[in-house]
């Protein structure tokens, strides 16, 4: 029972982390129609900036300043790079952001070296929140989860309850009309892109200390984040949250289980036969855990191509 509680808690927190990164990605896609390949690179930049700032400003200021820096970079990227290629269509935007992600990764390697840097959770936050049957639950995990929830609430309220939110949402559907009403639509897009990048930066600054800060972190998380956004429905904030939790919890439960396809055959009394076949039949679910998100994506795309909560086809 305790194991199950832990598995669910672990899965939820990991899901919330995935949400922190995918929120910006789905926001940018929803608003601007840009599938941003460099998004996970902003996550990495957030971690490296926080690592650089920490000795100068302390941990708290570092995780606040680092997202601001990343926002600044996001704004520059939108203004000087994306805006220029926007006219040429989505394929060009995709290629530009892909190129950008490679450039950022190489720059990081040049600046910080090939190996992980020693960006760690500060000692005052390194304690157990509680402990069940001998396993400590680190406080920092709860802290990461809380930040993700606050972030979700803030974005949701900003988009639905404020004037800025109204302008942003209308700029998606009727940009020319909004422009005619006297709003600066390019500025809105620039802001959205900057904020999206900043959210990824915040996730990086917070999670980089808990996991590792290394030049591959964008690559490692990038793929899963895309899966989350596709499963949730491109552009849907609620969908991203739902998909993140779904993937986080499935992953965590799968790791803890010893289920094999052969065990399913036991239900119809064919376990021995299935075990003789071997191969895929005797692979434990736990060794496929990291592959499950892709299976989920496949099923969702077949059954509901627009994603769990997506509107756009």
């Amino acid at each position: 029972m305790d194991q199950l509680v832990f598995a669910l808690l672990n899965g939820t927190i990991y899901g919330l982390l995935l949400f922190m990164v995918s929120a910006g990605l789905t926001l940018i896609f929803g608003m601007m129609g840009v599938l941003n390949f460099a998004h996970a690179s902003f996550y990495m930049l957030g971690a490296y900036f926080a690592y650089t700032l920490e000795p100068l400003t302390g941990f708290w200021a570092a995780i606040l300043l680092s997202p601001l820096l990343v926002t600044g970079i996001g704004v520059l990227v939108e203004k000087f790079i994306l805006r220029r290629v926007h006219a040429f269509g989505h394929a060009h935007e995709l290629l530009v952001t892909f190129g950008l992600s490679v450039v950022i990764a190489e720059l990081i390697k040049m600046g910080y070296g090939n190996f992980p840097v020693d960006y760690r959770v500060p000692p005052e936050l390194r304690f157990a929140a509680f402990s069940i049957s001998g396993i400590d639950y680190p406080f920092y995990r709860l802290f990461m989860g809380a930040i993700a929830l606050v972030m979700f609430a803030a974005i949701y309220l900003l988009l639905t309850r404020t004037r800025v939110g109204i302008v942003v949402r209308s700029a998606i559907y009727r940009p020319q009309m909004v422009e005619a009403l006297g709003h600066n639509v390019p500025l809105v897009f620039m802001g959205v892109f900057g904020v999206g990048a900043g959210l990824a930066g915040l996730a990086g600054a917070v999670a980089g200390a808990f996991y590792t800060t290394n030049p591959n972190m964008a690559l490692e998380l990038g793929v899963v984040v895309f899966v989350v956004v596709v499963v949730g429905g491109l552009g849907s904030m609620g969908g991203a949250m739902l998909a993140s939790l779904l993937i986080g919890i499935t992953n965590s439960l799968a790791v803890g289980s010893n289920l094999r396809p052969a065990d399913l055959f036991a239900l119809v009394g064919q376990r021995d036969w299935a075990e003789q076949i071997g191969g895929l039949m005797t692979v434990q679910l736990s060794s496929l855990a990291a592959t499950l998100p892709f299976l989920i994506m496949l099923i969702v795309l077949v059954v509901r191509p627009s994603g769990l909560m997506g509107e756009k086809e």
């Binding site: 090939n114 190996f115 020693d118 590792t212």
Partner: protein, 414 residues
Amino acid sequence: MTFSSLVRGTAASALVLMAGSAAAEPLKIALVETLSGPQASTGLLYRSAVQYEIGKLNEQGGFGGEEIVLAEYDNQGGPVGAADRVRAAIADGAQIILQGSSSAVAGQVTEDVRKHNLRNPGNEVLYVNLGAEAMELTGEKCHFYHFRVSPNAAIRVGTLVEGMREADALGERVYAMNQNYSWGVDVQENTKAAAEEMGFEVVEETLHDVNKIQDFAPYVARIQAAHADTVITGNWSNDLLLLMKAASSAGLEARFGTAFLDQPGNVGNAGAVAEGHFVSTPFNAETNPDLSGPFVEDYKAATGHYPSYVEPAAAFGIRLLGEALGQVEPTEAGVDVTALAQALETVSIETPMGELSIRPEDHQAVLPMVVQTVSRDAVYKADDTEFGFKPVKLISAEDAAAPVQDSCEMQRPG
């Protein structure tokens, strides 16, 4: 073109050809490593070790009076890139292929070399495996032109559990946590095989995806549920680091026995989390300091850093190759590869750790291993931290060796 000019042209080109055959070609060695992309960090370490030792060989006069040419090829981290680069290297005249990182890539390279040698008798190439440690490379995939100068999974695990047991750090309940590919499976199998002799029980075994997992907390919960004293893992890079960090933040008491804890950045990133964990490697600068000291200082003077991780084994391997080159005569093409391979089977060198040689049965290196633990007392600190690797036990080449696998059926020339 008139008849006379044709004759003159032909004569001239014949002269050029003769001149070409009179002077021997310099020996060409190709390093086919991962030099770019996410896994480049290890490939670049192999490069620095190889450059250092080839430089030494050239200082001593190279081979056949000519400098040995070292050409570098970037395999981009995968078997496909490696196959392509090996072809290019052979076409460029390389007679020796060096490669080390990733057993998956090594599996491709060794097959390519084997097939090339089958199809081109008399123009063989030699594959010196600097550090791919999967068992199959000296097992079912073994062949006469493959030489492994690093330990393998059996040696790593065997020496690790022996050293840990002697340091009273092994316990009775062992959890095998490994990556789901040839190397990880080998570590798991060898851990199980060592259980009876070393008096422990493998309580659970897990194989997981390679370098895809961010969150190891669920795996740590499993280790905890199994009440393991020790985790034996072949994990490297992020998979090792994240596993250790997750274990420490969950307050897991288990000790880790690893193969690659000494990868640069690990101790720096894990900090105190790594303290007390074990690793078994072919070198520690603190062992036999009067011999190791000059080596590491000279290495640092040449490359700018102390040799670590895969570098010492790769450097000693090239040294052994140099010893074998001293036993054979240069030929027009560079070197008679078959004679060189035969020489490699017989030569041995003294490294700062002891004797290094290659046994003829499966071309696996027989080399001493050092079991070590992360400690504040270590002389050489890792990653500018207060921690370093403190030797626990030096295991001689003889004792470290694992038996030849039955699956190796080597076709010998002649």
